[in-house]
Protein backbone atom coordinates (compact mmCIF):
# COMPACT_ATOMS: atom_id res chain seq x y z
CA UNK A 1 0.00 0.00 0.00
CA UNK A 2 1.39 3.37 -0.99
CA UNK A 3 2.23 5.81 1.78
CA UNK A 4 2.16 9.57 1.73
CA UNK A 5 3.19 12.28 4.14
CA UNK A 6 1.73 15.71 4.49
CA UNK A 7 3.88 18.09 6.46
CA UNK A 8 1.92 20.96 7.86
CA UNK A 9 -1.84 21.00 8.18
CA UNK A 10 -3.22 24.33 7.15
CA UNK A 11 -5.40 25.05 4.15
CA UNK A 12 -2.93 23.59 1.64
CA UNK A 13 -2.26 20.50 3.75
CA UNK A 14 -5.94 19.89 4.31
CA UNK A 15 -6.88 20.28 0.66
CA UNK A 16 -3.89 18.14 -0.32
CA UNK A 17 -5.09 15.37 2.00
CA UNK A 18 -8.66 15.70 0.82
CA UNK A 19 -7.76 15.57 -2.83
CA UNK A 20 -5.32 12.72 -2.31
CA UNK A 21 -7.99 10.75 -0.50
CA UNK A 22 -10.53 11.41 -3.24
CA UNK A 23 -8.11 10.25 -5.91
CA UNK A 24 -6.58 7.40 -3.97
CA UNK A 25 -9.01 5.87 -1.49
CA UNK A 26 -6.69 3.13 -0.29
CA UNK A 27 -3.37 4.81 0.44
CA UNK A 28 -1.88 5.64 3.84
CA UNK A 29 -1.76 9.31 4.65
CA UNK A 30 0.35 10.58 7.54
CA UNK A 31 -0.04 14.14 8.60
CA UNK A 32 2.63 15.94 10.62
CA UNK A 33 1.80 19.12 12.41
CA UNK A 34 2.78 20.08 15.94
CA UNK A 35 -0.18 22.41 16.52
CA UNK A 36 -2.95 19.88 17.23
CA UNK A 37 -5.24 22.44 15.69
CA UNK A 38 -7.61 22.06 12.87
CA UNK A 39 -6.66 23.95 9.69
CA UNK A 40 -7.58 27.63 9.75
CA UNK A 41 -6.80 30.86 7.99
CA UNK A 42 -4.15 32.91 9.83
CA UNK A 43 -5.99 36.01 8.67
CA UNK A 44 -8.70 35.12 11.18
CA UNK A 45 -6.33 35.69 14.07
CA UNK A 46 -7.02 39.41 14.15
CA UNK A 47 -10.76 38.82 13.90
CA UNK A 48 -10.56 36.43 16.83
CA UNK A 49 -8.42 38.85 18.80
CA UNK A 50 -10.98 41.55 18.06
CA UNK A 51 -13.72 39.35 19.45
CA UNK A 52 -15.53 39.17 16.13
CA UNK A 53 -15.21 35.44 15.75
CA UNK A 54 -15.53 32.82 18.50
CA UNK A 55 -12.76 30.26 18.81
CA UNK A 56 -14.69 27.34 17.30
CA UNK A 57 -15.73 29.37 14.29
CA UNK A 58 -12.12 29.88 13.28
CA UNK A 59 -11.93 26.33 11.91
CA UNK A 60 -13.99 26.05 8.71
CA UNK A 61 -13.42 22.35 8.10
CA UNK A 62 -14.52 21.18 11.52
CA UNK A 63 -12.58 19.57 14.36
CA UNK A 64 -9.31 17.78 13.84
CA UNK A 65 -10.84 14.49 14.95
CA UNK A 66 -13.68 14.79 12.45
CA UNK A 67 -11.31 15.62 9.64
CA UNK A 68 -8.93 12.77 10.44
CA UNK A 69 -11.82 10.37 10.67
CA UNK A 70 -13.47 11.54 7.47
CA UNK A 71 -10.26 11.47 5.45
CA UNK A 72 -8.69 8.52 7.27
CA UNK A 73 -5.52 10.39 8.26
CA UNK A 74 -2.82 9.45 10.75
CA UNK A 75 -2.08 12.62 12.63
CA UNK A 76 1.35 13.09 14.23
CA UNK A 77 1.54 16.14 16.43
CA UNK A 78 5.20 16.78 16.03
CA UNK A 79 7.60 18.75 13.93
CA UNK A 80 9.37 17.26 10.99
CA UNK A 81 12.99 18.18 11.34
CA UNK A 82 14.30 16.94 8.07
CA UNK A 83 13.17 15.84 4.66
CA UNK A 84 15.64 14.16 2.36
CA UNK A 85 15.71 13.74 -1.39
CA UNK A 86 14.87 10.05 -1.13
CA UNK A 87 11.56 11.08 0.48
CA UNK A 88 12.51 10.11 3.98
CA UNK A 89 11.51 12.26 6.90
CA UNK A 90 12.85 12.60 10.41
CA UNK A 91 10.66 13.93 13.17
CA UNK A 92 11.26 15.42 16.59
CA UNK A 93 10.73 12.01 18.17
CA UNK A 94 13.35 10.56 15.84
CA UNK A 95 10.79 8.81 13.76
CA UNK A 96 12.27 7.94 10.34
CA UNK A 97 9.92 7.10 7.58
CA UNK A 98 10.10 6.72 3.83
CA UNK A 99 7.15 7.75 1.64
CA UNK A 100 5.96 7.36 -1.92
CA UNK A 101 5.16 11.02 -1.95
CA UNK A 102 5.46 13.98 0.34
CA UNK A 103 3.52 17.25 0.41
CA UNK A 104 5.30 20.17 2.01
CA UNK A 105 2.63 22.47 3.43
CA UNK A 106 4.26 24.12 6.37
CA UNK A 107 2.87 27.56 5.62
CA UNK A 108 4.64 30.68 6.76
CA UNK A 109 5.52 32.36 10.01
CA UNK A 110 5.46 35.94 11.08
CA UNK A 111 8.72 37.53 10.18
CA UNK A 112 10.92 38.94 12.91
CA UNK A 113 14.21 39.98 11.35
CA UNK A 114 17.29 38.84 13.24
CA UNK A 115 18.71 42.34 13.02
CA UNK A 116 15.82 43.76 15.04
CA UNK A 117 16.40 43.95 18.79
CA UNK A 118 13.20 43.09 20.59
CA UNK A 119 12.95 43.12 24.34
CA UNK A 120 10.30 43.25 27.02
CA UNK A 121 6.83 41.73 26.89
CA UNK A 122 4.87 44.50 25.25
CA UNK A 123 5.54 43.51 21.69
CA UNK A 124 3.57 41.06 19.62
CA UNK A 125 3.32 39.48 16.22
CA UNK A 126 0.07 38.57 14.50
CA UNK A 127 -0.03 35.33 12.60
CA UNK A 128 -1.09 32.39 14.71
CA UNK A 129 -4.02 31.92 17.00
CA UNK A 130 -1.59 31.98 19.89
CA UNK A 131 -0.51 35.43 18.72
CA UNK A 132 -4.13 36.51 18.75
CA UNK A 133 -4.76 35.06 22.19
CA UNK A 134 -1.62 36.71 23.58
CA UNK A 135 -2.58 40.12 22.25
CA UNK A 136 -6.12 39.71 23.49
CA UNK A 137 -4.97 38.78 26.94
CA UNK A 138 -2.57 41.70 27.08
CA UNK A 139 -5.30 44.14 26.07
CA UNK A 140 -7.65 42.68 28.64
CA UNK A 141 -5.19 42.89 31.51
CA UNK A 142 -3.24 46.06 30.80
CA UNK A 143 -4.15 49.60 30.17
CA UNK A 144 -2.96 50.32 26.69
CA UNK A 145 -3.23 53.95 25.62
CA UNK A 146 -0.90 54.02 22.70
CA UNK A 147 0.34 51.47 20.23
CA UNK A 148 2.65 51.26 17.30
CA UNK A 149 1.92 48.88 14.48
CA UNK A 150 5.03 48.14 12.47
CA UNK A 151 4.07 47.30 8.91
CA UNK A 152 1.31 49.06 7.03
CA UNK A 153 -0.05 46.19 4.98
CA UNK A 154 -3.06 43.87 5.22
CA UNK A 155 -2.32 42.45 8.66
CA UNK A 156 -1.01 45.68 10.14
CA UNK A 157 -4.07 47.61 9.10
CA UNK A 158 -6.41 45.05 10.67
CA UNK A 159 -4.43 45.13 13.91
CA UNK A 160 -4.54 48.93 13.82
CA UNK A 161 -8.29 48.78 13.35
CA UNK A 162 -8.68 46.41 16.28
CA UNK A 163 -6.58 48.61 18.56
CA UNK A 164 -8.28 51.79 17.37
CA UNK A 165 -11.70 50.30 18.06
CA UNK A 166 -10.64 49.72 21.66
CA UNK A 167 -9.69 53.34 22.11
CA UNK A 168 -5.97 52.93 21.62
CA UNK A 169 -4.02 55.73 20.01
CA UNK A 170 -2.39 53.98 17.04
CA UNK A 171 0.58 54.93 14.90
CA UNK A 172 1.40 52.87 11.85
CA UNK A 173 5.08 52.62 11.09
CA UNK A 174 6.51 51.37 7.83
CA UNK A 175 9.92 51.30 6.20
CA UNK A 176 8.28 52.07 2.88
CA UNK A 177 7.09 55.49 1.84
CA UNK A 178 3.38 54.64 2.00
CA UNK A 179 0.75 52.14 3.12
CA UNK A 180 0.37 48.79 1.33
CA UNK A 181 3.70 49.19 -0.47
CA UNK A 182 3.25 45.89 -2.34
CA UNK A 183 -0.40 46.32 -3.23
CA UNK A 184 -1.29 49.99 -3.54
CA UNK A 185 -0.21 52.70 -5.91
CA UNK A 186 1.11 55.64 -3.99
CA UNK A 187 -1.98 57.68 -4.87
CA UNK A 188 -4.26 54.95 -3.52
CA UNK A 189 -2.20 54.64 -0.39
CA UNK A 190 -2.30 58.39 0.24
CA UNK A 191 -6.07 58.38 -0.20
CA UNK A 192 -6.47 55.58 2.33
CA UNK A 193 -3.99 57.29 4.67
CA UNK A 194 -6.05 60.50 4.57
CA UNK A 195 -9.19 58.57 5.47
CA UNK A 196 -7.42 56.93 8.39
CA UNK A 197 -5.85 60.18 9.54
CA UNK A 198 -9.36 61.60 9.68
CA UNK A 199 -10.20 58.81 12.07
CA UNK A 200 -7.22 59.74 14.25
CA UNK A 201 -4.53 57.29 13.22
CA UNK A 202 -0.90 58.44 13.04
CA UNK A 203 1.64 57.42 10.43
CA UNK A 204 5.36 57.29 10.17
CA UNK A 205 6.87 56.22 6.84
CA UNK A 206 10.42 55.67 5.56
CA UNK A 207 11.12 54.61 9.10
CA UNK A 208 13.69 51.94 9.81
CA UNK A 209 12.98 50.30 13.14
CA UNK A 210 16.08 49.15 14.98
CA UNK A 211 14.74 48.15 18.36
CA UNK A 212 11.52 47.45 20.22
CA UNK A 213 11.44 47.63 23.99
CA UNK A 214 9.20 48.49 26.93
CA UNK A 215 9.10 52.17 25.93
CA UNK A 216 8.20 51.64 22.30
CA UNK A 217 10.25 51.86 19.15
CA UNK A 218 13.72 53.12 18.41
CA UNK A 219 14.50 54.18 14.85
CA UNK A 220 17.71 54.11 12.87
CA UNK A 221 17.79 57.90 12.75
CA UNK A 222 18.03 58.01 16.53
CA UNK A 223 14.46 59.06 17.11
CA UNK A 224 11.94 57.06 19.15
CA UNK A 225 8.22 56.49 19.35
CA UNK A 226 6.62 56.01 22.73
CA UNK A 227 4.07 53.19 22.74
CA UNK A 228 2.48 51.02 25.39
CA UNK A 229 2.31 48.21 22.89
CA UNK A 230 4.03 47.31 19.63
CA UNK A 231 2.73 44.87 17.07
CA UNK A 232 5.09 43.65 14.41
CA UNK A 233 3.29 42.94 11.14
CA UNK A 234 6.02 43.19 8.55
CA UNK A 235 5.18 40.06 6.62
CA UNK A 236 5.79 36.36 6.73
CA UNK A 237 8.57 33.98 5.98
CA UNK A 238 7.97 30.57 4.43
CA UNK A 239 8.51 27.74 6.88
CA UNK A 240 11.26 25.93 4.96
CA UNK A 241 13.80 25.21 7.70
CA UNK A 242 13.31 21.46 7.69
CA UNK A 243 13.74 21.13 3.94
CA UNK A 244 17.10 22.84 3.75
CA UNK A 245 18.92 19.52 3.32
CA UNK A 246 16.42 17.88 1.01
CA UNK A 247 17.95 19.26 -2.22
CA UNK A 248 14.52 20.75 -2.90
CA UNK A 249 15.11 24.04 -4.66
CA UNK A 250 14.31 26.93 -2.37
CA UNK A 251 14.16 30.61 -3.20
CA UNK A 252 12.09 32.78 -0.90
CA UNK A 253 10.09 29.61 -0.52
CA UNK A 254 9.98 26.12 -2.02
CA UNK A 255 9.96 26.40 -5.79
CA UNK A 256 7.31 24.36 -7.60
CA UNK A 257 6.16 23.83 -11.18
CA UNK A 258 2.59 24.00 -12.42
CA UNK A 259 1.92 20.49 -11.06
CA UNK A 260 3.01 21.71 -7.63
CA UNK A 261 6.02 19.43 -7.79
CA UNK A 262 9.33 20.58 -6.35
CA UNK A 263 12.69 20.06 -7.97
CA UNK A 264 12.74 16.63 -6.31
CA UNK A 265 10.40 14.09 -7.92
CA UNK A 266 7.70 12.89 -5.58
CA UNK A 267 8.02 15.85 -3.28
CA UNK A 268 5.30 18.42 -3.71
CA UNK A 269 4.64 21.72 -2.02
CA UNK A 270 1.58 23.91 -1.66
CA UNK A 271 0.41 27.00 0.14
CA UNK A 272 2.41 29.73 1.77
CA UNK A 273 5.60 27.68 1.98
CA UNK A 274 5.94 27.48 -1.79
CA UNK A 275 6.49 29.69 -4.77
CA UNK A 276 3.98 28.95 -7.50
CA UNK A 277 3.92 30.61 -10.85
CA UNK A 278 3.03 34.27 -10.99
CA UNK A 279 1.12 34.46 -14.25
CA UNK A 280 2.09 38.05 -14.86
CA UNK A 281 5.83 37.64 -14.59
CA UNK A 282 6.09 33.98 -15.54
CA UNK A 283 8.40 33.55 -12.58
CA UNK A 284 7.72 31.77 -9.34
CA UNK A 285 6.57 33.79 -6.36
CA UNK A 286 4.79 33.35 -3.06
CA UNK A 287 1.13 34.25 -3.48
CA UNK A 288 -0.03 33.76 0.05
CA UNK A 289 -3.77 33.44 -0.20
CA UNK A 290 -6.25 31.05 1.31
CA UNK A 291 -7.94 30.16 -1.97
CA UNK A 292 -4.62 29.81 -3.70
CA UNK A 293 -3.43 27.41 -1.01
CA UNK A 294 -6.64 25.41 -1.42
CA UNK A 295 -6.21 25.09 -5.16
CA UNK A 296 -2.51 24.30 -4.90
CA UNK A 297 -3.13 21.69 -2.24
CA UNK A 298 -5.88 20.05 -4.26
CA UNK A 299 -3.65 20.00 -7.33
CA UNK A 300 -0.71 18.51 -5.44
CA UNK A 301 -2.92 15.87 -3.80
CA UNK A 302 -4.31 14.78 -7.16
CA UNK A 303 -0.85 14.54 -8.71
CA UNK A 304 0.55 12.60 -5.76
CA UNK A 305 -2.20 10.09 -6.35
CA UNK A 306 -1.07 9.74 -9.94
CA UNK A 307 -3.50 12.08 -11.67
CA UNK A 308 -2.41 14.92 -13.94
CA UNK A 309 -3.71 18.08 -12.40
CA UNK A 310 -2.52 21.50 -13.32
CA UNK A 311 -2.33 24.67 -11.28
CA UNK A 312 -1.49 27.18 -13.98
CA UNK A 313 -0.54 29.90 -11.55
CA UNK A 314 -2.12 32.98 -10.19
CA UNK A 315 -1.82 36.70 -9.90
CA UNK A 316 -1.25 38.82 -6.86
CA UNK A 317 -4.62 39.82 -5.52
CA UNK A 318 -6.04 40.92 -2.26
CA UNK A 319 -9.18 42.31 -0.76
CA UNK A 320 -9.19 43.88 2.67
CA UNK A 321 -11.94 45.54 4.57
CA UNK A 322 -10.96 47.92 7.33
CA UNK A 323 -12.62 50.93 8.91
CA UNK A 324 -15.71 50.25 6.71
CA UNK A 325 -13.56 50.65 3.62
CA UNK A 326 -12.81 48.01 0.99
CA UNK A 327 -9.41 48.03 -0.64
CA UNK A 328 -8.79 45.68 -3.51
CA UNK A 329 -5.50 45.19 -5.26
CA UNK A 330 -5.11 43.05 -8.36
CA UNK A 331 -1.94 42.25 -10.23
CA UNK A 332 1.62 43.36 -9.86
CA UNK A 333 1.58 47.11 -9.27
CA UNK A 334 5.20 47.48 -10.30
CA UNK A 335 4.49 46.49 -13.90
CA UNK A 336 4.80 49.39 -16.33
CA UNK A 337 2.00 51.06 -18.26
CA UNK A 338 -0.30 53.98 -18.46
CA UNK A 339 -2.29 54.89 -15.36
CA UNK A 340 -6.04 55.50 -15.57
CA UNK A 341 -8.40 56.63 -12.85
CA UNK A 342 -12.15 56.66 -12.40
CA UNK A 343 -13.14 58.61 -9.37
CA UNK A 344 -16.60 59.35 -8.00
CA UNK A 345 -17.89 60.20 -4.54
CA UNK A 346 -18.70 56.57 -3.71
CA UNK A 347 -15.55 54.81 -4.89
CA UNK A 348 -12.56 54.91 -7.16
CA UNK A 349 -10.88 52.51 -9.54
CA UNK A 350 -7.31 53.13 -10.51
CA UNK A 351 -5.46 50.90 -12.93
CA UNK A 352 -2.44 50.47 -15.16
CA UNK A 353 -2.81 49.43 -18.79
CA UNK A 354 0.03 48.48 -21.07
CA UNK A 355 -1.56 49.01 -24.47
CA UNK A 356 -4.68 46.84 -24.34
CA UNK A 357 -3.35 44.74 -21.51
CA UNK A 358 -4.54 45.32 -17.99
CA UNK A 359 -1.56 45.16 -15.64
CA UNK A 360 -2.83 46.00 -12.20
CA UNK A 361 -5.81 47.49 -10.43
CA UNK A 362 -6.54 49.32 -7.18
CA UNK A 363 -10.13 49.71 -6.08
CA UNK A 364 -11.36 51.49 -3.01
CA UNK A 365 -14.99 51.29 -2.03
CA UNK A 366 -16.37 48.96 -4.70
CA UNK A 367 -15.86 45.30 -3.91
CA UNK A 368 -18.48 44.22 -6.40
CA UNK A 369 -16.36 44.92 -9.46
CA UNK A 370 -13.32 43.12 -8.00
CA UNK A 371 -14.21 39.58 -9.04
CA UNK A 372 -14.92 40.53 -12.63
CA UNK A 373 -11.73 42.54 -12.93
CA UNK A 374 -9.69 39.77 -11.34
CA UNK A 375 -11.25 37.18 -13.62
CA UNK A 376 -10.51 39.42 -16.59
CA UNK A 377 -6.91 39.88 -15.58
CA UNK A 378 -6.37 36.13 -15.21
CA UNK A 379 -8.22 35.35 -18.43
CA UNK A 380 -6.07 37.86 -20.26
CA UNK A 381 -2.96 36.05 -19.08
CA UNK A 382 -4.25 32.60 -19.91
CA UNK A 383 -6.33 33.42 -22.96
CA UNK A 384 -4.44 36.29 -24.56
CA UNK A 385 -4.25 40.03 -24.27
CA UNK A 386 -7.13 40.50 -26.72
CA UNK A 387 -9.56 39.16 -24.13
CA UNK A 388 -12.64 41.35 -23.99
CA UNK A 389 -15.52 41.58 -21.57
CA UNK A 390 -18.61 39.52 -22.25
CA UNK A 391 -21.97 41.36 -22.39
CA UNK A 392 -22.69 39.97 -18.94
CA UNK A 393 -19.47 41.36 -17.53
CA UNK A 394 -20.01 44.74 -19.17
CA UNK A 395 -23.54 44.91 -17.82
CA UNK A 396 -22.50 43.93 -14.32
CA UNK A 397 -19.66 46.45 -14.26
CA UNK A 398 -21.98 49.19 -15.45
CA UNK A 399 -24.61 48.24 -12.91
CA UNK A 400 -21.96 48.52 -10.26
CA UNK A 401 -21.07 52.05 -11.16
CA UNK A 402 -18.29 51.90 -13.73
CA UNK A 403 -18.86 54.27 -16.64
CA UNK A 404 -19.11 52.77 -20.11
CA UNK A 405 -16.01 54.58 -21.35
CA UNK A 406 -13.95 53.09 -18.57
CA UNK A 407 -15.32 49.58 -19.15
CA UNK A 408 -14.50 49.96 -22.83
CA UNK A 409 -10.97 51.07 -21.96
CA UNK A 410 -10.30 47.99 -19.83
CA UNK A 411 -11.92 45.27 -21.85
CA UNK A 412 -13.56 46.56 -24.99
CA UNK A 413 -12.94 45.19 -28.46
CA UNK A 414 -12.21 47.58 -31.33
CA UNK A 415 -15.76 47.07 -32.62
CA UNK A 416 -17.33 47.94 -29.33
CA UNK A 417 -18.39 51.34 -28.29
CA UNK A 418 -18.59 52.96 -24.97
Amino acid sequence: MRKFAIIGFGCAGYNGAKSLREHAPNVVIDVFDPSRRSPFNPMLSTYHAAGKLPYDAVFPFGSLEEICRALDLNYFSENVLEVTADRTIRTESDLYRNYDGILLATGADAMVPGSLRCSGNRWFTMRTLDDALALRQHLDTNQVRSAAVVGGSMVGIKVAELLHSEGVNVTIVDAASHLFPLAAYESTARFIQRQLENKGLGFRFDAKVTAIDEDGIAFADGSALQADLVCLCIGTRAGTRSFRNSSVQIGHAVVVNSHMETSVPGIYAAGDCCEGINLQTGKTAVIGLWANAAMQGACAGANMAGDHADCPGNILHNITRFFDMDFISLGDITLPGCKHLFDCPEFFVSLVMDGNTLQSVNVVGNYRVSGILKHHLVKQLTGGASTTFTPAQRGLLERNGLPREFIQLIGGSPNDRA
Binding site: F59, P60, Y367, S370, K374, N415
Partner: protein, 170 residues
Protein backbone atom coordinates in the same frame (compact mmCIF):
# COMPACT_ATOMS: atom_id res chain seq x y z
CA UNK B 1 -30.98 15.63 -8.05
CA UNK B 2 -28.50 18.33 -9.08
CA UNK B 3 -29.89 21.32 -10.87
CA UNK B 4 -28.63 23.94 -13.29
CA UNK B 5 -30.05 27.44 -13.78
CA UNK B 6 -30.40 28.11 -17.49
CA UNK B 7 -31.15 31.37 -19.22
CA UNK B 8 -32.50 30.98 -22.73
CA UNK B 9 -31.15 34.25 -24.03
CA UNK B 10 -33.47 34.16 -27.03
CA UNK B 11 -36.46 34.57 -24.73
CA UNK B 12 -35.12 37.18 -22.31
CA UNK B 13 -36.11 40.83 -22.75
CA UNK B 14 -34.43 42.02 -19.54
CA UNK B 15 -37.77 43.07 -18.06
CA UNK B 16 -36.42 42.47 -14.53
CA UNK B 17 -39.50 40.61 -13.29
CA UNK B 18 -36.96 38.07 -12.03
CA UNK B 19 -35.13 40.73 -10.03
CA UNK B 20 -38.37 41.95 -8.47
CA UNK B 21 -39.46 38.42 -7.59
CA UNK B 22 -36.07 37.95 -5.96
CA UNK B 23 -36.55 41.10 -3.92
CA UNK B 24 -40.01 39.94 -2.85
CA UNK B 25 -38.79 36.46 -1.93
CA UNK B 26 -35.75 37.68 -0.02
CA UNK B 27 -37.14 40.92 1.46
CA UNK B 28 -34.50 43.02 -0.26
CA UNK B 29 -34.72 46.70 0.62
CA UNK B 30 -33.24 48.94 -2.07
CA UNK B 31 -33.82 51.99 0.10
CA UNK B 32 -31.26 50.53 2.49
CA UNK B 33 -28.83 50.11 -0.39
CA UNK B 34 -29.49 46.41 -0.88
CA UNK B 35 -29.68 44.91 -4.32
CA UNK B 36 -31.43 41.78 -5.54
CA UNK B 37 -29.47 38.59 -6.06
CA UNK B 38 -30.54 38.56 -9.69
CA UNK B 39 -30.17 41.39 -12.16
CA UNK B 40 -31.42 41.84 -15.70
CA UNK B 41 -29.91 44.28 -18.15
CA UNK B 42 -29.45 45.18 -21.78
CA UNK B 43 -26.04 45.42 -23.36
CA UNK B 44 -25.71 47.38 -26.56
CA UNK B 45 -22.64 47.18 -28.77
CA UNK B 46 -21.47 47.57 -32.31
CA UNK B 47 -21.84 50.35 -34.84
CA UNK B 48 -24.60 52.92 -34.33
CA UNK B 49 -26.22 51.99 -37.66
CA UNK B 50 -26.43 48.32 -36.77
CA UNK B 51 -26.27 47.90 -33.01
CA UNK B 52 -26.22 44.50 -31.36
CA UNK B 53 -28.38 44.11 -28.28
CA UNK B 54 -27.96 41.43 -25.67
CA UNK B 55 -30.64 40.90 -23.05
CA UNK B 56 -29.51 39.13 -19.93
CA UNK B 57 -30.56 38.01 -16.51
CA UNK B 58 -27.67 37.10 -14.25
CA UNK B 59 -27.52 35.64 -10.78
CA UNK B 60 -25.30 33.18 -8.98
CA UNK B 61 -24.44 30.40 -11.42
CA UNK B 62 -24.06 27.88 -8.59
CA UNK B 63 -20.73 26.85 -10.13
CA UNK B 64 -19.62 23.27 -9.76
CA UNK B 65 -16.27 24.24 -8.23
CA UNK B 66 -17.57 27.40 -6.69
CA UNK B 67 -14.67 29.84 -6.31
CA UNK B 68 -16.52 31.70 -3.56
CA UNK B 69 -16.70 28.55 -1.50
CA UNK B 70 -12.99 27.90 -1.89
CA UNK B 71 -12.19 31.49 -1.00
CA UNK B 72 -14.26 31.75 2.18
CA UNK B 73 -11.97 31.50 5.20
CA UNK B 74 -14.73 30.67 7.65
CA UNK B 75 -16.48 27.98 5.67
CA UNK B 76 -19.79 29.83 5.31
CA UNK B 77 -20.37 28.55 1.81
CA UNK B 78 -21.02 25.00 0.81
CA UNK B 79 -22.61 22.93 -1.89
CA UNK B 80 -26.04 21.64 -0.97
CA UNK B 81 -25.79 17.90 -1.58
CA UNK B 82 -29.42 17.59 -2.65
CA UNK B 83 -29.65 20.39 -5.21
CA UNK B 84 -26.04 21.22 -5.99
CA UNK B 85 -26.71 24.87 -5.14
CA UNK B 86 -24.01 26.97 -3.52
CA UNK B 87 -25.67 27.76 -0.20
CA UNK B 88 -24.45 29.67 2.79
CA UNK B 89 -24.76 30.01 6.51
CA UNK B 90 -23.28 33.39 7.30
CA UNK B 91 -23.27 33.02 11.09
CA UNK B 92 -19.47 33.09 11.04
CA UNK B 93 -19.08 35.53 8.16
CA UNK B 94 -16.52 38.16 9.04
CA UNK B 95 -17.34 40.34 6.04
CA UNK B 96 -13.86 39.96 4.59
CA UNK B 97 -15.26 40.05 1.02
CA UNK B 98 -12.97 37.24 -0.17
CA UNK B 99 -15.95 35.52 -1.79
CA UNK B 100 -16.73 38.68 -3.75
CA UNK B 101 -13.26 38.88 -5.20
CA UNK B 102 -13.38 35.21 -6.11
CA UNK B 103 -16.68 35.47 -8.00
CA UNK B 104 -16.44 36.15 -11.74
CA UNK B 105 -20.09 37.25 -11.80
CA UNK B 106 -20.09 39.90 -9.05
CA UNK B 107 -22.65 37.96 -7.03
CA UNK B 108 -21.85 37.94 -3.30
CA UNK B 109 -23.01 41.17 -1.75
CA UNK B 110 -22.36 42.81 1.56
CA UNK B 111 -25.22 43.74 3.80
CA UNK B 112 -24.34 46.90 5.68
CA UNK B 113 -26.90 46.17 8.35
CA UNK B 114 -25.63 42.77 9.36
CA UNK B 115 -22.02 43.32 8.33
CA UNK B 116 -22.16 40.00 6.53
CA UNK B 117 -22.04 38.77 3.00
CA UNK B 118 -25.07 37.24 1.38
CA UNK B 119 -26.03 35.81 -1.99
CA UNK B 120 -28.56 33.81 -4.01
CA UNK B 121 -29.33 30.46 -2.41
CA UNK B 122 -31.21 29.20 -5.44
CA UNK B 123 -34.40 29.31 -3.34
CA UNK B 124 -33.10 25.97 -2.10
CA UNK B 125 -35.89 25.40 0.41
CA UNK B 126 -38.53 25.96 -2.26
CA UNK B 127 -36.78 23.68 -4.72
CA UNK B 128 -36.49 20.94 -2.09
CA UNK B 129 -40.28 21.12 -1.75
CA UNK B 130 -40.95 20.89 -5.45
CA UNK B 131 -41.45 24.60 -6.02
CA UNK B 132 -39.52 26.68 -8.52
CA UNK B 133 -37.03 29.37 -7.55
CA UNK B 134 -38.86 32.72 -7.35
CA UNK B 135 -37.10 34.15 -10.41
CA UNK B 136 -37.86 31.11 -12.55
CA UNK B 137 -41.47 31.02 -11.42
CA UNK B 138 -42.18 34.65 -12.32
CA UNK B 139 -40.45 34.84 -15.71
CA UNK B 140 -43.18 35.93 -18.14
CA UNK B 141 -41.40 34.54 -21.17
CA UNK B 142 -40.04 31.30 -19.77
CA UNK B 143 -36.49 32.48 -20.37
CA UNK B 144 -35.26 31.26 -17.02
CA UNK B 145 -35.49 27.66 -16.05
CA UNK B 146 -34.11 25.22 -13.55
CA UNK B 147 -33.23 21.90 -15.11
CA UNK B 148 -31.63 18.74 -13.84
CA UNK B 149 -28.07 17.89 -14.85
CA UNK B 150 -29.29 15.30 -17.32
CA UNK B 151 -31.92 17.60 -18.80
CA UNK B 152 -29.21 20.19 -19.12
CA UNK B 153 -26.94 17.84 -21.09
CA UNK B 154 -29.86 16.98 -23.35
CA UNK B 155 -30.68 20.66 -23.82
CA UNK B 156 -27.14 21.50 -24.81
CA UNK B 157 -27.07 18.61 -27.26
CA UNK B 158 -30.38 19.26 -28.97
CA UNK B 159 -30.92 22.99 -28.79
CA UNK B 160 -28.45 25.20 -30.56
CA UNK B 161 -29.98 28.43 -29.31
CA UNK B 162 -27.84 30.46 -27.01
CA UNK B 163 -28.17 29.35 -23.47
CA UNK B 164 -26.37 30.79 -20.53
CA UNK B 165 -25.31 28.85 -17.53
CA UNK B 166 -22.03 28.50 -15.70
CA UNK B 167 -21.00 25.71 -18.02
CA UNK B 168 -20.45 27.95 -20.99
CA UNK B 169 -19.54 31.15 -19.23
CA UNK B 170 -16.68 29.59 -17.29
Amino acid sequence: MKYVFVLDESKCVACSACAVACMDQNDIDPLAGDIPFRAAFVDEQGPVEDPKFTFLSIACMHCENAPCMIACPTGCLKKDPETGFTVFDNTNCIGCHSCAMACPFAQPCFNDNSGKMTKCDGCVERVKRGMQPACVKVCPFGALSLVSESEYQELMRTDARKKISYKILD
